[in-house]
């Protein structure tokens, strides 16, 4: 992780800043051995940016650094940065980091021209002593403001720049400026400076609809490609986190055809096997249409498969969500206990959509989640403009896809705004792979929950509106009954079901009766067949008997005749003669 590593194809070495997202956007960090200018208004995060750059260098890159503080004292800077966990105090003691208190003080008197030659002489000694590779001049505007004219300011900036180049230091100058030079005449010098430096970064902090929004934009970067768009960032627990839509050249994850269960068996069938792994699923519906339940069913199924799952809820405390889900037979508490499921109540996260995204990302990374449920994503549209929410939703989906995470978001539709299907104002619907719409179907004086799949990319899916039934055994979809071109739900479905049942029974009974009768007939015939067979036998016997008797008599007759002849002593009778 040294800055000399990873030379890009254009040969320009980069120095990583350790700022998540920024290094990706600039494909590696700040230009090594060059000067970078960070401009921004008050409180835009310049000092944090600079400190993180130095802390990362000292911790991870074996590059000692010097921080020249013009605006605050070193002790205050170290104290203020305490919460980031960079251990600046320890780094200072290990001589990996050095703070120079160049704060001019409030009582300083300025009389005539001066220069920074003295400071550079001092720094030169320090650079040599600690073999520093990185140097930060924080709030350079403070000292430049003491100079009498623009020409002197320019001269000092060039002096600084030349000095940095001569010493091959990766330099970072930070200055308060509006960036465009129109609002603040004092910042004109930094427009000059922007031409001089190799890389310029603009930070801004503004309130949009009362919600704080921080943005970072790389204005220029000599000899390197960079993400030119304004990227939102926030100052989190580990410092700056820049939200980049996509890092240039990032390898996209191969799409799989693996299916994951939605947690509702019949819904899986409707979707042709379930959601795709890594897909983004959107569940829209008015309040109370069981969006949470449906998404929780997915979470439960994921936990059953042993996949680490993150459940972000914006509506209520997670304990309430778990309790409410118990009533429909979804038991998430055991997975919470085993640690496979992490539930976050995002009500505690205040801020813009950007903040939510970064926090959710951080939680998901910490939990190594494979499945994420966000319920509901529509709350994002309140803070910030629609455009940011849109881009956040865009990045959310992009990020989850990049990680191969299966994402289920619910989106609350405003009942008043549009009764038309899926008036999803975040436009997330165009990005989602699968879009399930839940609605109330009012039929015969009843409100029933209807589920339909509006789209599901790459999967054959049922086009039918199905009734969603919640019971203590869980979530299921009812059988479909259609009548007159309408899907029957609720009592109508029940009536139809029972009517069909009765009709079935009648048919069944009739069938049984017929069968019995046929059985009887068959038995009767069989009996008849048997008796006839017996009769036949008897006749045959009689016939045989008759034949035998006739032969016997014949024999006896001839015997009798012989005897008679013998007794008469007559001549033997010639046979054949009667």
């Amino acid at each position: 992780m040294t800055s000399q590593q990873a030379p890009l194809n254009n040969g320009l070495a980069k120095t990583p800043t350790g700022i998540s997202g920024f290094d990706e956007a600039t494909s590696g960090g700040l230009p090594c051995g060059r000067t970078t200018l960070v401009v921004g208004g008050a409180g835009s995060g310049k000092t944090v940016f600079a400190l993180q750059f130095l802390a990362h260098g000292a911790h991870a890159c074996k590059e000692p650094g010097i921080f020249v503080a013009f605006e605050e004292t070193a002790n205050r800077i170290i104290a203020n940065a305490e919460s980031f966990g960079w251990e600046l105090g320890a780094l200072t003691r290990q001589k990996k980091l050095f703070f120079v208190d160049a704060y001019p003080g409030s009582d300083i008197v300025n009389s005539g021209n001066f220069d920074l030659g003295g400071m550079l002489a001092v720094l030169e000694l320090q650079v040599k002593t600690m073999k520093a590779r990185r140097i930060v001049f924080d709030a350079l505007d403070v000292v430049l403001a003491l100079l009498p004219d623009l020409a002197s300011q320019r001269r000092e900036i060039y002096r600084l720049h030349d000095w940095l180049l001569a010493h091959q230091l990766t330099g970072l100058l930070s200055a308060k400026a509006s960036g465009d030079g129109t609002r603040d005449p004092g910042s004109r010098i930094f427009d000059v400076a922007q031409f001089m430096v190799d890389c310029a970064v603009l930070l801004n902090h503004r309130a949009v609809h009362g919600v704080s929004q921080r943005n970072l934009r790389v204005l220029k970067y000599r000899g390197s490609g960079f993400d030119e768009n304004e990227a939102p960032f926030l100052i989190g627990k580990q410092g700056l986190e820049v939200a980049v839509t996509r890092a240039p050249g990032r390898i996209s994850v191969k799409a799989t055809s693996e299916r994951v269960s939605s947690g509702v068996e019949r819904l899986d069938t409707m979707l042709g096997g379930g959601y795709f792994r890594g897909a983004s699923v959107l569940i829209t519906g008015f309040s109370g249409t069981a969006k949470t339940t449906l998404s929780a069913a997915f979470a439960e199924a994921a936990c059953q498969r042993g996949e680490r799952t993150l459940f972000v809820t914006f509506d209520s405390e997670h304990s309430e969500v778990i309790r409410n889900l118990m009533s429909v037979g979804i038991r998430l508490d055991r997975y919470m206990k085993s640690g496979i499921l992490r539930m976050i109540s995002a009500r505690t996260i205040a801020g813009s959509a950007e903040t939510y995204l970064v926090r959710i990302k951080a939680f998901a990374n910490a939990h190594q989640a494979r499945c994420i449920v966000i319920d509901p994503v529509s709350l994002w549209s309140n803070p910030g403009t629609d455009m940011t929410t849109q881009s956040v939703a865009d990045r959310l989906i992009h990020w989850s896809k990049g990680d191969g995470t299966t994402l289920v978001c619910t989106n609350l539709l405003d009942e008043l705004s549009s009764q038309m299907e899926g008036g999803s104002h975040t436009q997330i619907s165009t990005l989602a792979d699968t879009w399930i719409h839940l609605s109330y179907v009012v039929q015969a004086g009843e409100r029933n929950r209807g589920l339909s799949i509006i789209k599901s990319r790459g999967t054959a899916h049922s086009n039918q509106v199905r009734e969603l039934i919640l019971s203590d055994k869980g979530v299921t979809l009812a059988d479909t009954y259609t009548a007159g071109g309408e899907v029957l739900m609720g009592t109508l479905r029940w009536q139809k079901e029972s009517a069909e049942r009765i009709a079935n029974e009648v048919t069944e009974v009739a069938g049984k009766r017929k069968r019995v009768k046929l059985d009887t007939d068959e038995a009767e015939l069989e009996v008849r067949v048997k008796s006839l067979q017996k009769e036949l036998l008897a006749k045959q016997f009689e016939k045989a008997l008759l034949a035998r008797t006739a032969e016997g008599r014949k024999e006896e007759l001839s015997h009798h005749r012989t005897q008679m002849k013998e007794s008469r002593g007559a001549d033997a009778v010639k046979s054949g003669r009667k």
């Binding site: 008197v109 009389s111 001066f114 220069d115 003295g118 002489a121 001092v122």
Partner: protein, 96 residues
């Protein structure tokens, strides 16, 4: 008026840079005019003694530090605006 305090100065210069040379000339002239025989000037070349400058917290050159009488005062620049310098040194009454 014989018990007027002794002035002790330390002037930090950056080698023979033009600003620094001007400051030295201006300081000498000022002292000759307003503080004859009651001033001491120490000159520190930060190029030769960067460590000293770091310890003293001097980063802009030239810088004049008035060490005595108290309070300690720092004046940055060529000292060409005499009125400003005198005011900073608490000598404005002398001019009037």
């Amino acid at each position: 008026m014989s018990r007027r305090p002794q002035f002790k100065f330390c002037l930090y210069l950056a080698g023979d840079a033009l600003n620094s040379a001007q400051a030295l000339v201006n300081l000498r002239a000022l002292c000759e005019t307003y503080l004859p025989d009651r001033h001491v000037i120490e000159i520190v070349d930060v190029f030769r003694e960067p460590k000293r400058a770091l310890e003293d917290g001097i980063f802009m050159t030239p810088t004049l530090v008035k060490l005595a009488p108290l309070p300690v005062r720092k004046i940055v620049g060529t000292l060409s605006h005499t009125a400003t310098v005198l005011m900073a040194l608490g000598l404005e009454s002398v001019t009037s």
